[in-house]
Symmetry: C2
Subunit: 248 residues, 2 copies
Amino acid sequence: MKRPLILISNDDGIRSEGIKTLRAALEKLGVVYTVAPDREQSAASHSLTLHRPLRVEKIALREYAVDGTPTDCVTLAINKILPQRPTIIVSGINKGGNLGEDISYSGTVSAAMEGTLLGIPSIAVSLVSRERFDFRGAARFAARLTGLVLVKGLPKDTLLNVNVPAVKRLKGARITHQGKRIFGDVVFEKVDPRGKKYFWIGGDMLRWEGGQDTDFAAVTKGCISITPVHLDSTNYSAIDELKRWKFS
Amino acid sequence: MKRPLILISNDDGIRSEGIKTLRAALEKLGVVYTVAPDREQSAASHSLTLHRPLRVEKIALREYAVDGTPTDCVTLAINKILPQRPTIIVSGINKGGNLGEDISYSGTVSAAMEGTLLGIPSIAVSLVSRERFDFRGAARFAARLTGLVLVKGLPKDTLLNVNVPAVKRLKGARITHQGKRIFGDVVFEKVDPRGKKYFWIGGDMLRWEGGQDTDFAAVTKGCISITPVHLDSTNYSAIDELKRWKFS
C-alpha cells in the first residue's frame, strides 16, 4: 500500500523545535513534507500574501522555507511544491495555546483552515505553555490523531484544533467547544524618549467563560482538548429572527 | 435622550472614500468616532499588533488614525480613545466584497469581530464591485441597518456581515449563510530579472457553492446580503461522532 503524503506547516517558522518534533513523530505514518515560513509569523492570522512575489527555498529533502504566511505555505505547497495532493495536513506544534477566540487570530489554525478549504483533512496542534516547551507528548498525540484521521477522515469543512497542556501526566483527550476569553485592560500607555505618547497592546486574560466542555476547561484539568472547527461561521439560529426585521 | 456613540473603522484606511461616505450617513443617528488605520490594511486579517508600539494621530474632530490593523483600532478606540464605550461598531464600507470564506481573511470583518468579542453590537459593510465604487447606496443601507440594530440589538456573540452589490437598483435585503468559493489554479510561477524563480498568489474564483441562500447567491441577484456570523466556530454536530474515537 502506498504511504500517505503528509504536509506539515506552522507559524513559528521552519526552524522551530515544535515542527521538527512533529515531523519526527509523523514520519512513522507516511512521507512527510515540511513547507513552513522562513521566520516566525505569529499573529499573521489567516492572511494570504497578494501584494508581492513569494520565494521558496529548498533547505533539505522534503523541507521548504517560504517567505510568507502559513496560509501562503499551504497554497504554494499544494499548487507548486508537492508531487501530489497531500492526504492530510498537520499544522504545529505551536509554541503556546490556541484556545477560544485565538482560533481566529492563529496562524497555526489558519494553515489547517486553508487545507480544509481545499478539501484536505487538516489538524492544528498547539502546546499550551508559557515557559517550558517539551513538545514530545504533543507530538506523540499528534501522530496518534493523524493515524485516526487517516482511517476515519473528518466531517465536511471541519478541522480539528488540538491543544495539549504542558503537564507531566496527560489525563486523556476530550472533545470540546470553543470557549471565550475575558481580558483585562489590554492597552499600556507610555511616553517615548522624545516625549511622545505611544500605546502597546498587551494585557492578560482575567478568566474564561463557556463552561466545563470548553477547550479552556479541558487544558486546565490537564486533558488534551480537541475542538472540531467549522469553516462556515454562520449563526444559523439567528436567521429566523433576522428575517422578521424590516429592512426597507 | 442621549445620542448613541457610534465607532467606525475599516481596513482600507482612514482616507478611503468608503469610510467617509459611511460617516456622513451615520452622523444622523448619533455621535460618530472614526478610528481607522492610517493606510490600507487589506488581508491584514484578524491580527493584533503585539510586537511593537502603536501611534495614534488625531486628524480631525472625532477622527483618529492608527498605524496598525483594524483590530488594533477597535482595541485602542475602546480602551484609550473614546470617552465611553460605543453603543455600536460599524466597519467599512469596504472597497470590494467579503463573501464566503473571505470572512476569515477580512480586516473589515475582523474589526466587527473584535467589537463582538468585547460585547458591542457590530456590523461589517462591504461594496461588492471590482471597478466603479459608488458607496452611497451601501451607506444608506448601513444607516438603516444601524438604526435597526440600535433598537433591536444583536444575538449574543454574533456580528452582521453585510455585502451590497454595485447595481443601480438594489432588490432588497436577504438574510443569508456563508457560501464557499471554488478557486482555479491560484499560483503564478515566473522568473525574475536575475533568472531566479518566484511565485505570486492570484487566481480567480471559478464558481461558488452552497445554494440559493448563500451570500454569493444574494449579491449575484442584486440583493443585499446579511449574514449573521457567530464568534464560536465549533462544529457542534461533529462532537458526538468524535467522542466515539479511541484516542489512547
